[in-house]
Amino acid sequence: MNVLGFAWRSLVRQPARSTLGILGVAAVGALLFDMLLLSQGLLLSMRGLLDRMGFDVRVVSSDQFPGPGPDLDDAQTLAAQIAGLPSVRSVVTIRSESADLQRAGGESVRVTFLGVGGSTVRPWTVVSGRDIAADRELVLNAYAAEELDAAPGDAVLVKAFCFPEDTAPPQQTFRIAGIAEFLFDAPDTLGAATTADDLALACAQEAGKADFVAVVSAGDPEAAAAAISAQHPDLRAMTNEQAVGQLQQRGFTYFRQISTVLSTVTVSFALLLITVLLTVSVNQRLGEVAALRAIGFSQRRVVLDVLCESVLIVGIGGGLSLPLGWLLAQWLDGILKRMPNIPVQLHFFVFEPNALAVHALLLGATAILAAVYPMRIVARLPIAATLRNETVS
C-alpha cells in the first residue's frame, strides 16, 4: 500500500476527529480565501469599472483622484486640442453639479447632474426610452425616476446649483429622454445627465467648464497620456492603470491592511491547530507506529505517513474551503456594500487566479509546517522502549 493510501486509512479509521479536522481547515481556509479576495478586490473592481466606462485616459487639473479637483476651464477648446492628437480616438468632457428636479405639482429631489460634451460616447447605458438627442433633454437613473415618479417623455423643472452665488438659479424645463444606468451609481443615489451645453444652460453660464476630460485612445493609453501631458504640461493625464495606482496609494488601504492582518492570523491559527491535532493524534498512536517500525516500515516511511495525513487533512479541507469561501465572500460583500456611496457595481471581494495560487501555496506550506513536529516525534521514536511501555501499560 502506498503512503497516501495508508494515511487515508489512518484518517478513515478515526472518522470523527478527521472530519472535524477537515471541517476546521475548511472554515479557516474559507476565511483565508476571502481575505485574499478582499486584499485586491476593490482595486480590481474599480479597474473593471473604469475600463467598462470605455475611456482609457482621464485628464484632470490636479493629482487628486478621485475627488472634486478644481474645474477645467475652457474644456471644449481643451477637448478639441486633445482630440487632434494622433494617439487619441475620441474625447468627452464631463462635469457634475447638484440640481433640484421637480415635476409639475410634485416635490423636488436633489440629484447629481452630469453634463457630457464632446463625442457621442456616453458614460451611461440607456435601459428604457432613448438617449438624449435633442436640446433640453436628460436621462435619469432608475432611483431618480422612481423618486420623481417620472417616465420617458415627461417634463421636469431643473434648478442647477453650479456656483454658490446661484442661490436661486432660474429653473429650466427639460424632457426625460430615457432611464439610464450609470456605472458609478450608488444605491439610493439620484442621478441625471444631459449634454454639457444643456447643463451650462441650466447653470445660466457659458459652456466650457468640466470636472475632467475622458479620452478614448487610439490603442495605446500610455502614449495618449504622454502626448496629452506634453501638450498640456499644467494638467494631469492619467491612464486607468495610473488612476487605480492613485487609489491604491491614497485610499482603499484599510481593507488591504485588514486583509493582511486577518490572513496572517488565519494561517497562524490553522498552523497551530493542525500541529496540535497531528501531535495529539501521533502521541496516541506511538505504540502502533513502533509496531510498524518493528515489522519493517522504514523511518522515512512512517514520517511520510504523518506528512501525508497532514496533506490529506489540509488538502481536503482546502478544497472544501473554496466553494465555502466563495459563498462567504458573497455574504461579506453584501454587508460591506451597505456602506454609503458605494457604487452598486463595485465589489469588495473579487476573484483572481493569483488569489487561488496564493491560497494553495499558504495552505500547502501550512500542511508541511504543521507536520514538522509530529514527524520529528515519529522519526525519533525508540522502537523497543515504546513497545515495552505499550505492553506494560
Partner: protein, 282 residues
C-alpha cells in the same frame, strides 16, 4: 462651493514669515498636527495663506494652536493638511474684492436642535420655507452608516472565526477525552457514576476554557497597543483601530468559556455511553 473649499485647502500657499512688530496683529488660525509636522509650524508662527499656488493675494495669519483632526475612517490614507480659521477671515480671504457686501456665501450651516428627534421635521420646514437651501440631517445614524457596516463586517468575520475555532476545539477535545478512555473506564469500575464523571469533566473544561479566555484577553490587550501604534504610525492618524472594551472582553469570555466547556462535555458524552469494561479495555 465645494471647489472653493478645495482650492483653499489644496492650493494654499504656505509661507512661514516671522511676525514683524510694525504690522497689525494678524488673525489667528489653527493648523492640523499633520500640517504642522510636515511644514515645521509651531504655535505663534505667522503664515501667509493664499488661494493660488503663486501666492497672489496672500494674507498673514498667526497660528494660535495645533489641533488633532477628528479621525475619519473614510479619509484613511489621506494626510489632513488643514487650517481652521474664523468665518469672517475665510470670507475675507475667499471673496472677490468687487463683490458687494453681504454677497458672501458659506457652504453649509450646522444647527444643533434643542430636540434632535425633530431633525427631519426641521429639515422639511427649512426646505419648504427657503427655496435654494437644502436641509438634511447632519449624520446618517441608521444602517447605512459606515461605522455600523464595518462593525457588522467585523462581527461576521468573528462569527466565522468562532465557527472554525469550535470545530477545531471539538476535534481536540474528542482526542483528549479519547486519550483518557481507560482512566474513565477505571473510575466507572470503582463505582463512580457517569454523571459524577461528567461533572468532573465539565469542571475541567470550565477551568481550561476560563484559563484560555483569560490568556486570550491578555494577548488581545497586549496586541491592542501594538496594532494601534502601528496603524496610527502607518496612516498618521489618531484613529483607534482596535479597542478591547470591558463589553468586548465580557462578550469574549461569555462566548469562549461556555463554548469550551460545552465542547468538552459533548466530546465526553459519547464516551460515557460505552460500557465501563470496554472503556477499560478489559
Amino acid at each position: 462651493m465645494k471647489r472653493r473649499t478645495f482650492l483653499l485647502a489644496l492650493s494654499t500657499t504656505l509661507i512661514v514669515a516671522f511676525s514683524s512688530a510694525q504690522t497689525p496683529e494678524p488673525p489667528s488660525i489653527l493648523v492640523s498636527r499633520q500640517l504642522a509636522e510636515t511644514e515645521g509650524l509651531a504655535e505663534g508662527d505667522v503664515v501667509r495663506l493664499a488661494l493660488d499656488a503663486a501666492g497672489a493675494g496672500a494674507r498673514p495669519f498667526r497660528i494660535a494652536g495645533v489641533y488633532e483632526p477628528t479621525p475619519d475612517p473614510m479619509r484613511l490614507g489621506t494626510v489632513p493638511r488643514e487650517v481652521r480659521m474664523h468665518l469672517p477671515d475665510l470670507l475675507a480671504l475667499t471673496s472677490d474684492d468687487d463683490a458687494p457686501t453681504g454677497a458672501e456665501h458659506v457652504a453649509r450651516i450646522n444647527i444643533a436642535l434643542a430636540d434632535p428627534a425633530n431633525a427631519h421635521a426641521f429639515a422639511r420646514s427649512v426646505n419648504g420655507r427657503a427655496p435654494g437651501v437644502f436641509a438634511r440631517r447632519a449624520a446618517a445614524t441608521g444602517s447605512a452608516s459606515t461605522f455600523v457596516v464595518l462593525e457588522r463586517f467585523h462581527l461576521a468575520i468573528a462569527v466565522v472565526t468562532i465557527v472554525a475555532a469550535t470545530v477545531f476545539l471539538l476535534a481536540l477535545t474528542i482526542m483528549l477525552v479519547d486519550e483518557r478512555r481507560e482512566t474513565v473506564g477505571v473510575l466507572r469500575l470503582i463505582g463512580l457514576p457517569a454523571p459524577r464523571i461528567l461533572l468532573q469533566v465539565l469542571l475541567e473544561g470550565l477551568l481550561i476554557a476560563s484559563a484560555g479566555a483569560l490568556f486570550g484577553l491578555a494577548l488581545a490587550w497586549v496586541s491592542e497597543g501594538l496594532i494601534n501604534r502601528f496603524f496610527q504610525w502607518r496612516y498618521n492618524t489618531a484613529l483607534i483601530f482596535v479597542q478591547v472594551t470591558p463589553r468586548v472582553a465580557a462578550l469574549c469570555v461569555a462566548i469562549a468559556v461556555p463554548l469550551g466547556a460545552s465542547a468538552t462535555l459533548a466530546a465526553s458524552w459519547a464516551l460515557m455511553r460505552r460500557g465501563a469494561l470496554r472503556l477499560a479495555r478489559r
